[in-house]
């Protein structure tokens, strides 16, 4: 499902127009981004939690050249699905 299809589905569910649904989504995503920028996590009940996690520096080896590199620390955005969501998708999966 690409973004367009997602918006269509959301519009149908919410009753808003596609254009309006798109705009509202942008607002929500921006609000989430604001939290992430501050390092705060965003928890959505029934869906999951988005967390900002720090990855320490690591030594990596370039497989092609064998060159060892030091990768600096970074902050990454992680997502942990809520159990109810996991159950939902597992029910719909093939046996």
């Amino acid at each position: 499902m690409n973004n367009k299809e997602f918006i269509v589905a959301l519009a149908m569910k919410s009753g808003f127009s596609q254009e309006e649904s798109r705009k509202l989504t942008v607002t929500i995503v921006k609000a989430m981004a604001k939290n992430f920028e501050a390092g705060d996590s965003v928890a959505v009940p029934g869906f999951g939690t988005f967390e900002v996690k720090k990855r320490l520096e690591r030594v990596m080896v370039n497989p092609a050249t064998g060159q060892r590199m030091l990768v600096p620390p970074k902050l990454s955005l992680n997502f942990r699905a809520a159990l109810s969501l996991k159950e939902k998708i597992n029910k719909g999966g093939t046996e």
Binding site: V29, K30, V59, M60, K74, K88, I89
Partner: protein
């Protein structure tokens, strides 16, 4: 049950789109429901500006993965954006730790990490220095402005105190002088490289050097001592200030006597500074103990 953080999401909707609270909260719920349903039907959902959710089959069942969009990745990593990967020179040993993940601390402690991890300092000194090509301009600058602000506050407090000691007639000179000091102080702190220059309040109005005139100086007039002579003269070393000198001889709060005797408030390394000889004023002799 909406928690604090999803509240900020629906609040944004209310604010930006003038939606009533119920509608806004419902829409947030519907958005994520849609993602869930999309995952169920298509195994993958992409949300522009945020990222892509995917169902991945694992040993224990199906997992949901999330990959943030590039713009989002960069936004999240902004505090560490100046870092780049660097090639390790031969012979450099690092403890190859598995990637640890921890929740975001208040501030990234980039300075400490490289040095902590090198077990063989002799060989790795070059690595430590040029390992990260980053700008450390922000921290010294911030430190300097904090130092400037603190020193300004101290001086302002000192002047107010001096002004308070005056009777109403001579009250005006003190506050006026304060303003000029403020600006000169800020400049000097910002440009100073060493701690030797310490500029305080405005210059003394006195031109005479007699002790009687000195002891009537506003700064020490209400003190417990009179200046009666020069104890000795020292040459100021680098790193020394009127403050440090005063602290080591008569006492930190006696700095006013130093200023008045030397008729100066700013110093440089190499200056001659007279250390005042003081005696307890008559009116304090019985009271002081």
């Amino acid at each position: 049950m909406a928690n604090e953080l999803t509240n900020s999401l629906f609040e944004a909707l209310m604010k930006q789109h003038k939606l009533p609270a119920v509608t806004a909260a419902k829409f947030v719920e519907q958005l994520f429901e849609t993602i869930g349903e999309g995952l169920d039907s298509d195994r993958q959902v992409k949300v522009r500006g945020l990222g892509t959710f995917k169902i991945q089959t694992g040993k224990l069942g199906e997992n949901i993965s999330f990959t943030p969009e590039t713009s989002m990745k960069e936004l999240v990593n902004k505090p560490f954006s100046q870092f780049e990967s660097v090639a390790l020179k031969d012979g450099v040993e690092f403890e190859d730790e598995p990637t640890e993940e921890e929740s975001v601390p208040e501030e990234p402690r980039n300075n400490e990490q490289p040095t902590e991890k090198t077990p063989e300092p002799e060989e790795e000194s070059s690595v430590d220095e040029d390992i990260y090509e980053y700008d450390d301009e922000p921290s010294p600058l911030r430190r300097r402005s904090i130092l400037a602000a603190v020193m300004c506050a101290i001086f302002v407090a000192g002047y107010f105190f001096g002004g308070y000691m005056h009777d109403s007639n001579s009250a005006t000179p003190a506050p006026k002088k304060k303003v000029t000091t403020h600006s000169t102080k800020k400049e000097s702190v910002d440009s100073a490289k060493t701690d030797t220059t310490l500029r305080k309040t405005e210059s003394v109005a006195e031109s005479t050097d007699t002790y009687a005139a000195m002891n009537a100086d506003p700064r020490i007039r209400y003190g417990a001592y009179n200046i009666v002579g020069v104890e000795r003269t020292v040459v100021l070393k680098k790193g020394e200030t009127l403050e440090s000198l005063s602290k080591h001889t008569l006492g930190a709060d006696m700095i006013g006597y130093f200023q008045v005797l030397n008729n100066a408030t700013s110093l440089s390394a190499g200056d001659n500074v007279k250390i005042p000889k003081v005696e307890l004023r008559p009116e304090y002799r019985n009271r002081k103990k």
